[in-house]
Amino acid sequence: MRIECPLCGSRDRREFYYSGHASALERPDPDSSAEVWDDYLHNRDNPAGLTEDLWHHEMGCSAWLVVQRDTVSHAVLAVRLAKGDQL
């Protein structure tokens, strides 16, 4: 498997650390209900098809990436920096 890092280009999967669904980007307000936090931390869909997840280019540029991919075809469709475009 290869991931197109927006900074480093196409790289071997072994350079990346996988870290679950991209919903982790949407941290709830501190005083949100326990249900909201529970959802944020623990509840995940298991889609057959499109999904977005987070990968850390740990052995490369150290950027956190949001990777859109297809769990059926394994196609990697789009990759963006989690921090956005600002450098």
Binding site: R2, Y17, L25, P30, A34, L41, S62, W64, H74
Partner: protein, 977 residues
């Protein structure tokens, strides 16, 4: 026997080799298989289950029978296919599955028992009595199972991993692969041409038909000469592409040293390549299949095309009287070539009606082979022809049931091949692997002319995809006779007809599976083990599923295929794990004090990837406890020295540094003054403790965080996440400086005296108070000093740039010894921290909250932090929690064992009575007793009570008193002194 005037071998170079203890000779260019056949060694192996005598069946990597063990120096390689083992001078090979000898095999008795050893035999037989499972059945099955044997010695061979990148990967260098390579090469794109043989050309080396007016192998030589001239072409011989993976990644096994008797130093035996290609062209050709007929497994019966390869490529005839049996036009070439070479052809048997041709050897149309004879090698065949039976003497029979395109790689990402009735074969599904196209016989194009044309065409389309426009190139003229076939799978009849030669699966087994309702192809496979041996059914799957389709009354497309998975050929575990041998397994991290430490004979212990000293033995000390106790006392009474550089150090800068720290840590850092250090606790977002450490404020917006050794990587990744993913608006940047600084703990009553002996400017309690920090100088070198303690003593950590680490350690050592102190290791460090009640990752093991370790109040109520919301959940903060306590033994038994569980003194030590568990223990020379840390249900309210520790593994029960985990200096006077 050798056939004069045939073959591409070098008859001037004679090679000596041994098989089964007997000396033989072959020629340069031979494989072990061709050399054995040249020496009339028809019997080369015994089958796996029935121990039936077996001979060489193919001329390629799909070989199911001729598995041998090759001895090379001290090592031996089992399951080497004689058909791909290039012959070298001095080669020594042994047959497998035969005891005591190849000709008389004791387990051949299995063959007589075969009526009982049918499909499902093991499942049905080894069921009862239950007591037999472990002591009788398993040893029996283990003895009978397995192909070949390992040397059972350390494998000294090197296996290498390597990476390659290209624009176009061409898999297979037969006519379509070579033509594709020539075409792409001219575009300037980077090409890798990989072929599993050491000589490229594929079937062109095995056929007599001409290409471009010259012999096939000569056209191959010309093509190679042109390819070698391209700087953008890389040719990888002896390289089998074993798997197709996501995003254009391919696995490939290169056999580097197998043809060498002694592999030179440094040269790997095999290299496992990860090839990344923008596009790939699969030119893997096709494999010929068998027809099932009674006793079709005798030595001397082989594929018709394999037979032709031995004749045309190696100048070998596998027999003196040749018969051929087929259901297609291609089989006739074998009879023709042998007749033309002057070998006697006794029969050309074609199952199709009306196919007799004008040739000067006997042909039988509409006929079939119904029986064979010859125990250790074929002697005769019986055929049914025109309603009668006829016995024909022959010692070699070539069989062709048609060709199966090698679609395997196209199935590696779940693509299902498509049935083609006109070819009676499965063809690759289009776009089954993104970026991969198929050309030549692998795509069902069965003529040389067609393969060349398609190779060229696919190359052009791939080049166009990659933005290169190519001029149409001239195609060499080549044979274009259509391939005609009428499906014919199973002759039927009474005797056993083999499908899978490796696992001894017969047509009967498949039919029986159907009778017992294992009708799905996947169930049949598992019930009969069809296709589950090392050839993975390459020779037999299609025929087997045709038999299955017939037995179930379904068509072949409805029956479907099992799934081809990587690897295409067997790959040694050593090759898959290549690079991971010995020190290649993981990096080793060494402290700057490593050499000095080892010179002091300190045993090293692995802490993650780091090597740290356990203890520093003095003369006369024979047990680690003696050294450890002495080192603890030394720190408590004088001064000790310990390399703590393994702690993670993260340099944090920026106007928002403090806001960032406040988000990471539970406690507030806004109030931390420049030149001061604070203990910090970090949670995961789910409210459990991630790590703890200290953070120093070096200047206004400049902090230095330390992490534990164990969590350094995790914390760095977490910080990257929090910053980039959650708060990219914060103006802060950070980087690891762990390795820039060599840092030493100097602990004990004499710590300040020691430092004042070496620092350029003396320190005092005023200039460097407890939890203070600042820049200092040693001999003019900038250093950092932190007054922090992990021992409970008056202590410092002194950091210098790592280049001075060795020098400073030796200096500190000399100073410490002058003050009655010395170095201490990890054992003493652990005792010191346990005496003081400090925690490590033995305690904060991932299921622990701040409340559990008595730090609930460290979660500031004035600000948010990672994990704060979830830490407040019910269930994480109350008497139902296991809380950190100290333990000491109070009964006769003094042993406390980490991992052991705690119970009420009178309760039965069973799960439902469980009250907690021990995490750490040591003998405390200061308290003169064993002490421990444990998590105990509502522990903080149980001080002074008794609990029972039970270790179910070692059977130890110890009565303990629950106490404050701080055993030493609970007021902390020593720290500030």
């Amino acid at each position: 026997m050798r056939v004069s005037g045939k073959g591409l071998i070098d008859r001037n170079t004679v090679l000596n080799f041994k098989f089964n203890g007997q000396p033989f000779q072959g020629f340069s260019g031979d494989t072990l298989a061709s050399a054995l056949l040249a020496n009339d060694q028809r019997l080369v192996a015994r089958s796996f289950k029935y121990h039936r005598p077996r001979g060489i069946m193919t001329a390629g990597s799909e070989e199911p029978n001729a598995l041998v063990t090759v001895q090379r120096g001290k090592s031996q390689e089992p399951n080497t296919r004689a058909t791909v083992q290039r012959l070298y001078e001095g080669l020594v090979a042994q047959p497998q599955n035969a005891w005591p000898s190849l000709k008389f095999d004791a387990l051949g008795v299995n063959d007589l028992l075969s009526p009982f050893l049918v499909a499902g035999f093991y499942y049905k037989t080894f069921m009862w009595p239950r007591a037999f499972w472990e002591r009788v059945y398993e040893p029996f099955i283990r003895h009978a199972a397995g192909l070949g044997a390992l040397a059972e010695a350390y494998d000294h061979d090197l296996y290498e991993k390597a990476f390659a990148h290209c624009d176009v990967l061409i898999i297979g260098a037969g006519p379509s692969g070579l033509m594709a390579a020539l075409t792409v090469a001219r575009s300037g794109l980077d090409v890798i041409l990989a072929d599993e043989n050491d000589r490229l050309g594929g079937r062109l080396l095995s056929e007599v038909e001409e290409v471009a007016g010259v012999a096939g192998h000569m056209w191959v030589d010309d093509a190679l000469a042109e390819l070698v001239g391209f700087a953008n072409v890389r040719i990888m011989t002896n390289t089998t592409v074993t798997g197709a993976y996501d995003q254009g990644t391919y696995g490939a096994l290169e056999r580097v040293g197998h043809h060498l008797d002694m592999v030179p130093e440094g040269l790997p035996l095999e290299s496992f390549w990860r090839i990344t290609a923008k596009r790939a062209i699969l030119c893997s050709g096709a494999l010929e299949r068998q027809i099932a007929f009674p006793d079709n497994d005798r030595p001397g019966i082989m594929t018709a095309s394999g037979m032709r390869s031995y004749l045309n490529c190696y100048g070998v005839s596998p027999g003196q009287k040749i018969a051929v049996f087929g259901n297609n036009s291609d089989a006739h070439r074998t009879a023709r070539d042998f007749a033309e070479a002057g070998v006697e052809v006794v029969a050309m048997i074609d199952s199709r009606e009306g196919t007799s041709t004008q040739v000067d050897y006997p042909t039988y149309a509409g006929a079939e082979v119904v029986a064979t004879s010859g125990r250790l090698g074929l002697k005769s065949i019986s055929i049914r022809h025109n309603g009668g039976l006829k016995t024909i003497e022959c010692d070699a029979l070539g069989v062709s049931g048609g060709w199966n395109p090698s679609v395997h790689l196209t199935c590696h990402m779940n693509g299902r091949p498509v049935w083609d009735p006109s070819l009676a074969s499965f063809l690759p599904k289009e776009d089954a692997i993104p970026g991969l196209v198929v050309a030549g016989a692998a795509s069902g194009v069965m003529t040389t002319a067609g393969a060349l044309a398609q190779g060229c065409q696919m190359a052009q389309s791939v080049a166009k995809d990659l933005g290169k426009r190519l001029m149409p190139s001239d195609l060499p003229h080549a044979e274009d006779r259509p391939y005609e076939i009428e499906p014919f799978w199973d002759v039927g009849g009474k005797g056993r007809a083999w499908l899978d030669f490796q696992n001894d699966v017969t047509t009967k087994d498949v039919k029986q599976a159907v009778q017992e309702n294992f009708r799905s192809v996947e169930h049949m496979k598992r019930y009969t083990t069809q296709g589950m041996a090392t050839d993975q059914g390459k020779n037999s799957n299609i025929t087997a599923l045709a038999v299955l389709a017939d037995a179930t009354g379904r068509g072949i497309p409805e029956t479907g295929t099992t799934t081809f998975r990587p690897p295409y050929v067997p790959v040694a575990m050593a090759a898959l794990g290549a690079g991971g041998q010995g020190k290649g397994f993981a990096p080793e991290r060494f402290l700057t004090s490593d050499r000095a430490t080892r010179a002091l004979r300190a045993p090293m212990i692995e802490a993650g990837l780091w090597y740290r000293p356990s203890y520093f033995p003095k003369d006369g000390e024979t047990h680690w406890r003696q050294s450890c106790d002495r080192e603890v006392a030394m720190v408590r009474t004088a001064v000790g020295l310990c390399d703590v550089s393994t702690l993670g150090k993260i340099d944090i800068q920026g106007p928002d540094a403090v806001a960032f720290l406040d988000l990471l840590y539970t406690n507030s850092f806004a109030s931390l003054k420049v030149g001061r250090v604070r203990y910090g606790l970090m949670l995961r977002e789910d409210g459990h403790v991630m790590d703890d450490g200290t953070c120093a404020r070096l200047s206004n917006s400049h902090y230095l965080m330390t992490t534990t050794t164990a969590a350094a990587g995790q914390v760095m990744r977490h910080m990257d996440f929090v910053h980039q993913a959650l708060r990219p608006d914060l103006d802060v940047s950070f980087t690891s400086v762990t390795e820039h600084w060599a840092q030493f703990a100097v602990a004990g009553p004499q710590a300040r005296a020691l430092l004042n002996g070496i620092l350029d400017r003396k320190i005092s309690d005023k200039t460097m108070p407890y939890m203070g920090c600042g820049a200092v100088q040693l001999g003019g070198i900038e250093a950092r000093l932190f007054r922090i303690s992990f021992s409970g003593e008056h202590a410092y950590e002194l950091a210098v740039p790592a280049r001075y680490g060795d020098s400073l350690f030796r200096l500190l050592l000399a100073q410490a010894e002058a003050l009655g102190g010395g170095p201490y290791g990890i054992e003493a460090l652990n005792v010191l921290r346990l005496e003081k009640g400090f925690i490590t990752h033995a305690e904060i093991h991932g299921r622990i909250t701040a409340f559990d370790i008595g730090m609930g109040r460290m979660i500031s109520d004035k600000k948010d932090c990672i994990g704060k919301s979830m830490a407040a959940r019910s269930g994480l903060n109350g008497p139902e929690r296991d809380q950190l306590v100290g333990l000491r033994p109070v009964g006769a038994v003094k042993k406390i064992i980490p991992g052991a569980h705690l119970f009420e003194p009178d309760a039965a030590p069973i799960r439902k009575n469980d009250q907690g568990y021990v995490t750490s223990m040591c003998y405390s020379p200061t308290a003169e007793t064993v002490i421990a840390q444990a998590f105990l249900r509502d522990g903080r309210n149980r001080m002074g009570q008794a609990v029972k520790m039970v270790d179910h593994l070692s059977g130890v029960t110890t009565l303990c008193e629950v106490c404050n985990p701080v055993f030493f200096d609970p007021e902390g006077g020593r720290l500030r002194g």
